[in-house]
């Protein structure tokens, strides 16, 4: 990836007809997506919809079964492509933080800078401290990950990724493993990052965050992109039935959907025949736009 290929507004990531199977489990069934320079794209969807797999395919933590992923013009799936060089320009933040427990916070942020970018120790530490400052943890530089709260660990993970000066940041459910009261700190760091113009691809369950920060929201279900567009439109006024159902459940978990409850009850107690009266897969299938 060269600097000239990533002008503002240019596509950084282009995904075409991406398929991924784990054995007979067809997790991704033909995705098409583009991430542009400076854009914040949030992916939402029920668990098992393939959104994390989608994200992990972009930096090749998962090997796609077929399809094309172009990052800065380079085909990631091409065996000739230097994946390490591409990953250098792409930060990743994991659900489980994945800090290196044997290294201090500073060590976590300098290790890859020194081994991969060949920066001097002083240079790497200056960069690390600058990014720790950014996530509000400069005083924790000498602490070890086990001494930090989940929210602090995740912010260190963000600082670690930022220390590589990435052109794109991938977030894989960054707040899902956190206690509720710690989510806000991580989200505000991400919000600031977005305001600074970082290109971000975020898999999340935080609808309020997606609505506020995202330039574009992708709703995935069953391995396909069901709906995609402006957050106000996708989250505020969803067009697809599956998006509506999902958002209803997420935004108002205590709300009891009488029809769905009945269907679930019928499936448990009466058997398939009765359940078929409520769920008509053949009918709903016609609404899907993804693929």
């Amino acid at each position: 990836m060269t600097a000239s290929s990533t002008r503002t507004g240019a596509a950084i990531v282009e995904v075409t007809d991406l398929h991924k199977s784990f054995g007979s489990n067809h997790v991704l069934q033909g995705l098409n997506a583009t991430i542009k320079q400076g854009e914040v794209v949030c992916v939402i969807g029920p668990s098992g919809s393939g959104k994390s797999t989608f994200l992990r395919c972009i930096n090749l933590l998962e090997e796609p079964t077929s399809g094309s992923i172009k990052v800065g013009g380079d085909e990631v799936t091409d065996p000739d492509c230097d994946i390490d060089a591409i990953r250098r320009n792409m930060g990743m933040v994991f659900q489980q933080f994945n800090l290196f427990p044997h290294l201090s916070v500073l060590g976590n942020c300098t290790m890859a800078q020194m081994t991969v970018l060949k920066r001097s120790k002083a240079e790497a530490e200056a960069k690390a401290r600058e990014n720790l400052e950014k996530v509000g943890l400069s005083e924790k530089a000498d602490a070890y990950p086990a001494q930090l709260s989940g929210g602090q660990q995740q912010r260190v993970a963000i600082a670690r990724a930022l220390s590589m000066d990435p052109k794109l940041m991938l977030f894989d459910e960054p707040t899902s493993a956190l206690d509720p009261e710690l989510v806000g700190d991580v989200l505000s760091v991400m919000r600031r990052l977005a305001n600074d113009g970082m290109t971000m691809f975020v898999v999340t369950h935080e609808m309020a965050f997606a609505r506020e920060v995202a330039d574009r929201v992708i709703f995935m279900d069953g391995g396909v992109i069901v709906e995609e567009g402006d957050p106000e439109q996708v989250i505020g006024d969803p067009q697809e039935e599956r998006t509506k159902t999902f958002l209803q459940r997420v935004l108002d978990p205590t709300h009891v959907d009488a029809g769905a409850e009945d269907a679930a009850y019928a499936k448990r107690h009466v058997g398939e025949v009765a359940a078929d009266n409520f769920v008509k897969p053949a009918d709903t299938h016609g609404h899907y736009s993804g693929g």
Binding site: N59, A85, N98, T115, V116, A157
Partner: protein, 275 residues
């Protein structure tokens, strides 16, 4: 059904499980005490002392060449440990490699040297010059012992190290790779340091086993200055027709192994606290 239970309960007074466990424990203490008393009364203490703990023999053993034997045991073990650790790490990485022939070689090696009794390996090693004429292993006699003992140790350690590597969460290597670190650097700087932290207690256990296995290297045919504790004690025992030297040599092993096992316990306790 329920009526029979309520009727039976008062007639046959059953002990509560806790009371019963207590009684069994007391019975065991009593039995132990009886065995000790009977042994103390029947044993011929003078005879025992003259067979195992003759004071003049203790003095002789300590002054003759014990420090040298102790030093040899430690040097043999330490060198074999270093060789075993290096070879074991290479073997463990080969076993986890995606290259099939590496896995085959490592598996064969490990199964072979783990399956054979150590003494058989040493005997075979002592005959090696018959097969390879002019074979010369440097640092005689240490070099030969190090290599022979190190080969046996490598097989055990490889399995321990492999378990340690596999105990490092997959997310660690993913995090390292997603930062652009090549696979080799991620293994060296992220996975191995964590793996060795996990396996320090079992690895220390292996050192203890190695200390004891070093008692078998006498079959390699060492000169007197190369004797380790067991060989030294046994030779002195048979020339004086008394077991005391061997007993003293035996206690010297405890000088090495007891601090090591204490260390293992400390490390395990600390690891438990960290979790």
């Amino acid at each position: 059904m329920s009526t029979t239970i309520t009727e039976e309960a008062p007639t046959k007074k059953k002990l509560s499980p806790r009371k019963r466990a207590q009684r069994i424990r007391w019975a065991q203490y009593a039995l132990l005490a009886i065995v000790l008393v009977v042994f103390a009364l029947t044993a011929n203490w003078e005879q025992i002392q003259s067979a195992f703990f003759r004071t003049d023999m203790i003095k002789l053993t300590l002054t003759e060449g014990l420090p040298n034997a102790l030093k040899n045991t430690i040097i043999y073990t330490a060198g074999a440990f270093v060789i075993g650790l290096i070879l074991g790490t290479i073997l463990a990485l080969m076993r986890l490699s995606s290259v099939a022939p590496y896995r085959w070689i490592a598996s064969t090696w490990i199964e072979f040297f783990r399956g054979l009794p150590a003494i058989v390996v040493f005997i075979a090693f002592s005959l090696l010059p018959l097969a390879f004429e002019g074979l010369l292993i440097p640092f005689d006699p240490y070099g030969t012992v190090w290599v022979a003992l190190g080969l046996v140790a490598s097989a055990y350690m490889a399995e321990t190290i492999r378990a340690g590597i596999q105990a490092v969460p997959k997310g660690q290597i993913e995090a390292a790779r997603s930062l652009g670190m090549p696979s080799g650097a991620a293994t060296r700087k992220i996975v191995l340091p964590q793996a060795f932290r996990i396996i320090t207690p079992p690895l220390t256990n292996e050192v203890i086993l190695l200390v004891k296995d070093s008692s078998l290297v006498y079959v390699l045919g060492l000169s007197a200055s190369g004797y380790e504790l067991t060989k030294y004690g046994r030779d002195l025992s048979s020339s004086n027709v008394n077991l005391t030297p061997l007993v003293v040599a035996g206690f010297c092993y405890l000088i090495i192994t007891l601090p090591l096992s204490y260390l293992v316990r400390r490390m395990e306790a600390r690891q438990k606290k960290e979790r």
